[in-house]
Amino acid sequence: MTLDGPIDCDIHPIVPSSEALLPYLPGHWAEVVVQRGITDLDSASYPQSTPLASRPDWRSDHARPGADLTLLQAHALDRWGLSAAICNCVYGVWPVFSADMAAAFSHGLNAWIAAEWLDRDPRLRSSIIVPLQSPQLAAEEIDRWAGDKRFVQVLLPVFADMPLGNRYYWPIFEAAARHGLPVGIHAGSTYRNPVTPSGWPSYYVEDYVAQSQGFHSQLASLICEGTFVKFPELKVVFIESGFTWMPSALWRLNKYWQGLRMEVPWVDRSPSEIAREHIRLTLQPVDAPPDPELLNRFMTHMESEDMLLFSSDYPHWQFDRDEVVPPGLSPSLLRKIQYDNPRATYSRLTERAQ
């Protein structure tokens, strides 16, 4: 395996129905699903019929968007010549209240992904879904799958019960770091807290736009809590986060760090320096105007060519035709985004190739 095509760091297989998971749920949980009539756990973060959930030309009469491997192959893997693609299954495990139920469904989802997707196309990789309701159980789920090198990161939602840098969650980071797995933080919520600091918004578009504010919070939390001091090898990937918000957020955090660093003395370098070393962001959605000159001017504000990772966000409708990368980026930056940066971030991709 030479990984000579672009590496897509965010695609979304969809669970067709809770029935599909039944064979993969541990213990008595298949029985629970039937007995209690748990028909689906679709996350409120991605209603299936919205224009965002799937490009119109990627919809099909016989399958929900993202539920059919042959369509994924035709629309993305084959069409763009991808050498690898990382599955981020945003099923509604995150909002579950019971840690036991969340652990069972995480386990079922990971087993389902391995059997129904990873086994059927060697280009596919996956994130490990974990029950963040219990960091201890989450760490156990990481330990369970980490031996399978096709699982390349641990996945968490951008909106959780507490900011993710909080030490409550450190067992998750500890397990990820121990196995050399990056922690991916993806758009989506447990919906324990309103998605905005002033309560619940009326519209879905506000919920989706608010995701980048969630990433602001996690950026600050991970840095201020000292997560990267505790786990110096850790990489965190912000997925489907947008990325144009990042430079100004770091300028702001740098400035407050200068004024308030006595509160967090373990933060011994500027936040932007820490972010450039430890944080990566996926490409789609490109939340910038389709203006190459502006985008290239903006790219200088990133002050790093190592932070962006190629992603299509398939099947979400973020672009049309084959414009999976925005026009006008320099060939060298494009090469880094599509190949070098993903390889450097997900060491398991190249381990497998050797």
Partner: protein
Amino acid sequence: MNVVGKIDATKGKGVGNRLAVADCDIHPTVNGYRDLYPYLEKRWQTHLQTYGAKVRHGYQRGAAYPKGQPDAKRRDAWPEGGGLAGSDLRLLQTQHLDANNVELGVLNPLTFCGYGLLNSDLSAALATAANEWQKNDFTRRDPRLKASIVVPYEDGPAAAREIERCAAEDDFVQVLLLSRTAEPLGKRNYWPIFEAAAAANLPVGVHAFGYGGAPVTGSGWPSYYIEEMFGHSPSCQALLASMIFEGVFERYPNFKLVLIEAGCAWLPAFTWRLDKHWERLRSEVPHVKRPPSEYIRQQVWITTQPIEEPEPRSHLVDVIDWIGWDRLLFASDYPHWDFDDPAVAFPIDIPLDLRQQFLLTNAKALYGVQ
């Protein structure tokens, strides 16, 4: 954060060399509810003494997160005669207005003004008292100063009544709320505020801070004050999105919004994001007729403090180019610790006409002050 040493108020720091300034965020400070008693009914005085003011966080008084220093104030801004920094007009005049050649100072009182109190009637009574206090203690004593109409914003009709009560007096140049409201600011319970402000041709200033009940992050409460401070810019992003998608700008075309003390460099990227996802999801919000960027370009102004200081500094010029130089308002945040000094607030050399626009003329035009 540009305070490099104690300003010597007596020497005036070479005023003659300084450009005239409109400071869009000065904090006159109430020392305590007792300062407002002259403007409060006896009933409320007794209530405050007996029950205090119930807020949406865990402490009887003060802030949920301890500040970086006492009352988040500059250590050199405390009056020698006692009282809180910002409470003494003479010191404000000598240390800031005179020393920094402030021609127009917009007052935004924060503490003890009833913002977001759970008791709506007390909130309204304190807002009225704070407005009368601003007139008597500040605007009627120094013509450079203009006040903001404090409103009990969680009660839209009461807030509208306060706007109507004050709007005719030329002491007041804007309506003032805090950013962390109980619901997203575009929701309909706040519309009476925007309607009354638009009718009075007054901008609505939304100053960062406050406690609306929801955590400052959508992922719960952070551990540190630095995170809360950082969180004010995403908070302002959320309220801007709410006002756009609820159709506030569309409904009130002459409504003007001023975002205060949340920095400024985030605005272009957030505007791009709004446009991108409005384009995709606009069928959900058919009442939003135009791209969000158009409403922002025409109806939103932004104060710079605490101004971002990227390396290289030229990135900031890119950002302001994207915002529009005519939307930018200087603010010092006097007497708070993260004060921006007008002499160095814009951290890179820019042409004189742009500097004057930023420091003075944009604000005078917006607030209708000659």
